[in-house]
């Protein structure tokens, strides 16, 4: 059965961008990487596009993280790890930035596998697809998600409390 790539693209592109954004924390870069993942998919024509695309996207994000790390070593001018948010006015940008930072820190409080599982679920992958990508047993995906969700919320609350305390 041939894949309708146009349809796959329309359906999965926003999910892929969201997934990538929470890994690279740069909306433009996330869109670039999502496009790159689709370019590769069109070249390779995988039989199961969705898990394949997310696997490639995760790999691209990992490479991106390495590049950022390398850049950071060499460029003292790179002051902030998180790029500027996209909101138009300065107040909204500041608020968006703070929100991103809170989420980012909360996600970083999770173990790598918990974080990956949670992001894959949020991007729309099924338990079976998550299991295939993370190496978890299907029966363990729910347990991992339960732990990851709880930890994410707790870490996020803690960060909010700290922000309030700092004024």
């Amino acid at each position: 059965m041939s894949t309708d790539w146009s349809d796959v693209y329309r359906q999965l592109f926003p999910d892929l961008v969201r997934f990538l954004h929470r890994k690279v924390w740069d909306p433009d870069r996330a869109r670039d990487l999502a496009q790159e993942a689709f370019v590769r998919a069109l070249q390779h024509q995988p039989r199961r596009p969705r898990p394949w695309l997310f696997q490639v996207a995760a790999n691209l994000a990992r490479d991106e993280a390495r590049t950022v790390l390398r850049r950071k070593r060499h460029l003292a001018l790179l002051k902030s790890e998180t790029p500027e948010p996209t909101a138009p006015d300065p107040d909204a940008r500041l608020a968006e930035r703070e929100r991103w930072d809170r989420v980012k820190e909360a996600l970083e409080a999770l173990g790598e596998r918990d974080r990956e599982t949670l992001l894959l679920w949020d991007a729309g992958l099924s338990y079976a697809e998550i299991a295939s990508q993370t190496g978890l047993a299907v029966g363990a995906v729910g347990t991992t998600l339960a732990r990851a969700r709880r930890r994410l919320v707790e870490a996020h609350r803690e960060r909010e409390r700290n922000d309030v305390a700092r004024g």
Binding site: L42, Q43, V103, D122, G142, R149, L152
Partner: protein, 399 residues
């Protein structure tokens, strides 16, 4: 009956209860209807789930506009046409060699006649000879220079040619191997091997451009049907290579070449063909000679995939990697023409390629390729483009 655990409650909330099996799903549904305690916990876990979703929703980028699909299609088409352009460059290179040899021959003739008095150029040193003669640099020479910069591509080109010939030979071979008995994922088909080995030297340039981009899909799809034996690699030379997550990267993954004595490993075409007759389009590994009978044993990644190697390059070793983070991974080391090595690490599905330390500081190029059955990490001191090209020629290796 026992209460429902948190993970199962989340599977229920996520609508994924059926992934646990229909019997278990029915048991859980029935229990949740009758157990107040579990129903209360379900509410609590539902609250955690909703709050986590709300937290994640705080990090959604604004303006999720989707670029036109045609843009993506055009980029993919451009990327796919790159090998064709490379073939044209190769033709230009061949033309430049012929042209330059002709020029050299003519100059040689002139010098013997005492007309110009130039030192006759040798075919392999054409460019310096032209320069020393003060001749203008021809466009053809520019192409030659460009090609000479990617001289490292020699193994890749050799592998491509071998691959093209292997495809042709395989059509003949597979007919023979179909009649060959399979025993534990192992088949004897020496005549077939010999036929393919014969085809090796007759590399056909015109078939290089034919190398197909979906080789991974073809190989991965085909290898699913291989009844290869799992289990330790026999005759493993570098079994001491144990990956330790705490050790420095280079010590972990790179042994000095001297520490890896050649195994003289040969791969077999028809063995794999006969073991996996349902592998359409699968590429074929080549060996120059018939392998020793007791050395022939396919290596599998947890029984799901056969390690890949570049046809035409000597396989130095095939070894299993150990350690919690890389269990089940297989490492194939091949000798490049320059005396350097090509390292191929095959990770089974579910493994994280990130567990393998980066090699960005030791001058090697690293390529991480997603496969339908796991991952492939390729490393060599080659330009990225050449490594990509060489990786496209991979074919399953058996021993």
């Amino acid at each position: 009956m026992s209460h429902v655990d948190d993970g199962t409650l989340h599977a229920y909330l996520d609508g994924a209860l059926d992934s646990l099996g229909s019997v278990e799903a029915a048991r859980v549904r029935e229990h949740l209807e009758s157990c107040e305690q579990c129903a209360r916990r379900l509410e609590e876990e539902g609250a955690w789930r909703d709050q986590a979703a709300a937290v994640l929703a705080g990090a959604v980028p604004e303006g999720e506009d989707v670029p036109p699909f045609e843009e993506i299609r055009a980029r993919a088409a451009m990327a796919s046409s790159a090998p064709a352009r490379r073939s044209l460059r190769r033709l230009a290179w061949a033309a430049s060699v012929v042209l330059a040899m002709g020029t050299g021959w003519m100059l040689r003739g002139a010098s013997t006649r005492g007309g110009v008095g130039l030192r006759p150029p040798t075919p392999v040193m054409l460019a310096p000879s032209e320069e020393s003669a003060g001749l203008p640099v021809s466009p053809a020479r520019n192409v030659a220079e460009e090609e000479s910069r990617v001289d490292e591509a020699a193994p890749a080109a050799r592998a491509e040619r071998a691959l093209a010939d292997a495809r042709e030979a395989r059509q003949v071979v597979s007919q023979e191997s179909k009649d060959t008995p399979v025993e534990g994922g192992r088949v004897d088909s020496e005549p077939a091997d010999a036929r393919v080995a014969q085809a090796l030297p007759e590399a056909a340039e015109s078939k290089v451009a034919d190398s197909d981009l979906s080789v991974f899909d073809a190989v991965a799809g085909g290898s699913a049907g291989v009844t290869a034996e799992a289990g330790p690699v026999r005759g493993e030379r570098d079994s001491s290579l144990v990956l330790d997550a705490e050790a420095p990267a280079r010590q972990r993954l790179f042994l000095a070449r001297e520490e890896l004595p050649p195994l003289g490993l040969r791969s077999e075409v028809a063995r794999r063909d006969a073991a996996a007759p349902t592998s359409p389009g699968a590429t074929t590994p080549l060996g120059a000679e018939q392998a020793e009978e007791d050395a022939v044993r396919p290596v599998s990644l947890s029984g799901e995939a056969v390690p890949l190697a570049v046809p035409g390059l000597e396989v130095i070793s095939v070894s299993r990697l150990e350690g919690a983070v890389l269990e089940g991974s297989v490492r194939v080391l091949q000798r490049l023409e320059e005396g350097d090595t090509l390292e191929l690490i095959h990770l089974p599905p579910g493994m994280n390629p990130g567990a393998i330390p980066t090699v960005e500081t030791d001058g090697r190029t690293e390529l991480v390729v997603p496969m339908e059955l796991g991952w492939l990490v390729a490393r060599a001191r080659l330009p990225r483009g050449e490594l990509e090209r060489i990786v496209r020629t991979l074919a399953p290796v058996a021993r």
